[in-house]
Symmetry: C2
Subunit: 210 residues, 2 copies
């Protein structure tokens, strides 16, 4: 497969392609033109062709894209079928909401364990996952190679836990703590879900519109 | 205040400035150079000067920025002090996690009501908020002008509820449903928090790194 340096804007759009192609597939659509795909996603046909050309030759002039095969290619590019091991750090409301409602397996991850400090849940299982005490994290990671940590701990614990994850060899941190983690240059990818930043951006945009 | 067309990248960074300046203020820092602020945020000094110049003249050559006053200016720009009314649609795990843990008031919003269809909670209060049945939404919006709706309903209900919000005059939707809402061109700003897209991006980035 042709591989170029892919811009972060394209990386951001790939999951949207994947989502739209899944929906089309579920709706029984077998092929789609770049124009029609663009219209459903709010992009131009040429933008779509340009994005997808970063990864190889998809689609055929005059035919469009085969939905199922493009969906499969993008799934591979995204690593959806790799079953990376993931652990969740912090089983408060947000952690529990993710455990109970979010389909990690649809994004290529298998949850293997949860960590918390609350004696009421440590040693129990939550949604089928064993809950260990946070103090067991270092030992756990030695024995169980883990691709990512889902960080939903309180802000005050974020950097300490993140440091343990990095030393324990995780490749990525899905960070819900709304702080920037101090792990730059340590070979770990951080994906932030900053709720407060997101809502502040919305506040700005509606203030502009009012 | 000087106002130019502000790029979405700058809008995305503004909440981070606000967050960092809050932290600096809490730590007792009174002034900071663009260089030092940049280092703490992973940006260059010139990037910072350029970003902030979109909104007016802040800081002084050789002195840097007054932390508290810049923080106040950015708070105003973001609309943090406006107390916009917000309602939450869907009080499942995620809705409850937001209700119980997220400080809407820190981002300039006051939650005024919640909506759901579960008979076990409709008519009750959750975290001090009245929970109404979703069928009461339209009437509620007629009587209570509302700036934003926080959308945490199941995907199947998302477009229908979003349509009601738009017709009811909300200015913005904070969208957690992981689908693109069909509200383009209707004068409403949508801010997406797409968990699955975010995790897929992380999957891609760690696959690249592996």
């Amino acid at each position: 497969m042709k591989k170029e340096k892919v811009s972060s804007a394209v990386i951001r759009r790939l999951p949207r392609y994947y989502r739209h192609l899944n929906d089309l597939h579920m709706a029984g659509v077998e092929r789609i033109s770049s124009k029609a795909l663009g219209e459903s996603m709010g992009l131009t046909a040429s933008q779509i062709r340009q994005d997808l050309s970063c990864f190889g030759e998809f689609g055929q002039q005059g035919y469009g894209y085969n939905v199922d095969s493009l969906r499969g290619e993008i799934a591979d590019i995204l690593g959806v079928n790799r079953g990376h091991a993931a652990i969740i750090l912090g089983v408060g409301n947000l952690g529990r909401a993710l455990l109970e409602n979010f389909h990690f397996e649809h994004s290529g991850f298998t949850l293997t364990a949860a960590f918390d400090v609350d004696p009421a849940i440590v040693g129990q299982t939550q949604c089928g996952l064993p809950v260990y005490h946070a103090s067991q994290l270092e030992d756990y990671l030695k024995e169980h190679p883990t691709a990512i940590g889902v960080l939903t701990v309180p802000r005050s614990a974020a950097d300490s836990i993140a440091g343990q994850l990095v030393r324990g060899g995780v490749k990525g941190i899905w960070n819900f703590t709304n702080i920037e983690l101090n792990v730059a240059g340590q070979g770990v990818v951080v994906e932030d879900v900053h709720f407060a930043d997101s809502l502040l951006s919305l506040s700005y945009m509606i203030s502009e519109a009012l």
